[in-house]
């Protein structure tokens, strides 16, 4: 298929042009290039998707051999199946809307060109990631999106805090990436290839289910996925990454990049099926993350941090789905989540944009009538997030929960945990809606979102509402759990829980039936709130365990401890110099005498040897 290579090329080319223009390009042209290139990619993706939907044929394209050493021949090659089509559609589709939105959001920014250059580069890298036919090219995209994430989080570079957040995002994900890197090495060393399809075949033929090697390999890959998708224990970077512009958060830290880990596991699902312990670990990590992030989201003040924690939590659901073997459901949730979380972020961005960059939800309020488009977008997004019936989130999350239920053994526990998470989701998402859009107004908006912002919001609203009815072309590509025979009681509980969450949120934050203040003021409540607010103190823990020791070590070594040895040599020779120098008196007679002394000695030795 000849158009395949055009898909990543458009944004890449546009990024190159924008970089080469060195910021001198007119804004209109930059906007046209930035958004237009992604739009063109989206059109190409649509063409590819149409072909795929029509015939279901896998499309492959090899551009060139990246490098060839012995039998190590990774290629720059694309592999398009249903999974890739879904991912590409999300990336280019949602990506285009966010680019459109960004034009208005960043119109007044001095680095407008730079922003679109980074964004386009990101889209290109993300497309490479999902289109790659081998793990090394995937890793290229993987690191590429990481670098773009770093650049975009630190986009407003003048504030050192943004820089710190960007570095944290990169370094923490890099920890996971390194694990993945080792995983690639292990896979290549053991199986002799990194091309995904032959790799799966080789793994299936060489390894048995439950062998050590596949467990090790998948555990290392999981490390990468955990880092990129902000799961426990490497989730700490994502809330800080909200320092970037809001559309960036929407695209990178909600819709696409952070779900790359989910994609990675789904892409290599055959490998993971060989390693049940890893798969179980995936499920438990997902569950633990979704609960932890859910509780944390309850206590936050910053509108974007709440959404960030909700993203972590929702990706936890995807991991849960993958862990219980419902790969297709995981990807389904990935897609719906991309819609409604992008919607939420963009709506939040509109709120922030209209309220002079206000992030604290307690200084908002009463925006329902002042920003109606934003309100309705946010409401729809929150409904989908909370998985209220008939929104897109409902279908995907329900599928995950039911899949968890059907898993023998640990299934019901996972289901119960997921349910608790759903309850939390209901509470925190509507807490947000009620506090921001209802009640008294604290800050007046000074402008209304323009057509680009509104347009993007409306399209995403529609997608968030109807996204649940899409039939993904994943049959035969990814396995899924059959949950047709789950009892109705379980289904009703699954449906009812988010509603319960909504009710609780209403009572606590809008209806004032229960005083949240008195709860929060009690010593236990306060402690718990602080604990949740700090993200379960995990950041502090890492700081004390890893960051500070590293800094101490670096500071301690700063002046080169190895040089101590060489300096000791220097000191020794200096000392010897000081001693020996006294022999050099400068007196000719002394020299003559020592010469004679040496002569006498030498002759004595010679005489002794001769006799």
């Amino acid at each position: 298929m000849t158009t395949l290579w055009l898909i990543p090329l458009f944004p890449l080319l546009s990024a190159t042009l924008l970089v080469l223009s060195a910021g001198r390009m007119p804004r209109q042209l930059a906007a046209l290039l930035g958004a237009g290139s992604v739009g063109l990619s989206a059109i190409c993706v649509a063409l590819v998707a149409r072909t795929y939907l029509a015939d279901g044929q896998v499309q492959e394209l090899t551009l060139w051999t990246w490098m060839a050493v012995d039998n190590f021949t990774p290629r720059i090659a694309f592999y398009i199946d249903g999974l890739t089509v879904v991912m590409m559609s999300v990336i280019t589709g949602v990506g285009f809307l966010i680019h459109l939105y960004s034009i208005e959001f960043l119109w007044d920014d001095e680095s407008f060109c730079r922003y679109f250059a980074y964004m386009n580069l990101f889209v290109a890298a993300m497309l490479l990631l999902v289109m790659a036919d081998n793990l090394l090219l995937l890793y290229l995209g993987w690191e590429g999106v990481g670098a773009c994430s770093y650049l975009l989080v630190g986009f407003w570079y003048r504030d050192p805090d943004n820089g710190a957040a960007a570095r944290k995002a990169f370094v923490v994900t890099r920890v996971g990436d390194t694990a993945m890197f080792l995983g690639l090495l292990l896979l290549y060393t053991e199986l002799g290839t990194l091309d995904i399809q032959p790799l799966m075949a080789a793994a299936n033929s060489q390894w048995q289910v439950g062998d050590t090697l596949p467990i090790l390999a998948t555990a290392l890959l999981l490390g990468g996925a955990v880092g990129k998708s902000a799961q426990l224990p490497l989730h700490t970077w994502l809330p800080d990454a909200m320092a970037g512009p809001t559309p960036v958060s929407a695209l990178i830290h909600a819709a696409t990049m952070v779900t790359a880990g989910v994609y990675l596991i789904a892409r290599n699902y055959e490998l993971f099926l060989l390693a049940p312990p890893t798969l179980a670990a995936v499920a438990w990590i997902g569950l633990a993350t979704l609960l932890l992030a859910g509780f944390t989201a309850l206590a936050q003040h910053d509108i974007k941090r709440i959404l960030a924690y909700s993203t972590i939590s929702q990706i936890g659901y995807m991991f849960l789905a993958l862990g219980v073997g419902a790969f297709a459901s995981g990807i389904f949730h990935l897609m719906t989540h991309a819609f409604f979380k992008a919607l939420l972020f963009l709506a939040a961005g509109a709120v922030i944009h209209c309220l002079h960059h206000e992030h604290n939800i307690f200084r908002m309020g009463g925006l329902r009538r002042r920003l109606p488009v934003v309100f309705w977008s946010f409401l729809i997004g929150s409904a989908a997030l909370a998985a209220l019936p008939f929104t897109s989130g409902f279908y995907s999350k329900d599928a995950i929960l039911l899949s968890a239920w059907t898993l023998p053994g640990i299934g019901p526990w996972l289901w119960a945990g997921g349910l608790l998470g759903a309850l939390l989701t209901g509470i925190y998402s509507f807490r947000l809606v009620f506090i921001v859009f209802f009640g008294e107004a604290h800050t007046e908006p000074d402008q209304q979102p323009g057509w680009r912002m509104s347009g993007a919001l409306i399209v995403l609203c529609v997608l968030s509402l109807v996204g649940g009815w899409f039939a993904l072309p994943l049959a035969g590509v990814l396995p899924d759990k059959d949950h047709a025979h789950v009892s109705h009681a379980v289904e009703f509980i699954s449906i009812g829980t988010p509603l319960l969450g909504l009710l609780i949120a209403y009572l606590l934050f809008l209806g004032r039936q229960v005083s949240i203040a008195s709860l929060a003021e009690s010593p236990w409540g306060k402690a718990l709130q602080d604990f949740w607010y700090s993200g379960w103190r995990i950041d502090k823990l890492y700081d004390a365990l890893l960051v500070q020791p590293f800094k101490c070590l670096a500071h301690w070594w700063r002046n080169e401890p190895v040089d101590l040895f060489y300096n000791a040599l220097v000191a020794l020779s200096r000392w010897a110099h000081g001693r020996l120098i006294t022999l050099q008196t400068g007196e000719l007679r002394w020299y003559a005498t020592s010469l004679v002394f040496g002569l006498v000695l030498l002759l004595a030795i010679m005489l002794r040897n001769a006799s």
Binding site: I581, T582, L583, Q584, T585, G586, E587, L588, R589, A592, T593, V596
Partner: protein, 104 residues
Amino acid sequence: MGGLQIPLEHVLLLAATLFSCGLMGLMLRRNIIFMLMSLEVMLNAAALAFVAAGARWQQADGQIIFLLILSVAAAEVAVGLGLVLQIQRRFKTLDMDQVNRLRG
């Protein structure tokens, strides 16, 4: 013909004694002129040993080495005495214990 038959060791003994005397003078005297004289004595002693050896084996080589020693002595004295003048001019003394600029 035209030469004596003398025990070689006696000549060498004399050379050794002269050499030791010169050496002692070198170590003893502080005046650079006397040091140079001591050097001359030592060179001369060495030359004596060579000539004696040449006489022992009836070879010209001994005398040739004497010639070389002679030229070394000449050159040495020429430069050495020039240095004596310089030292006297610069340090106003010929005491080599005071001329110790090379002390480390």
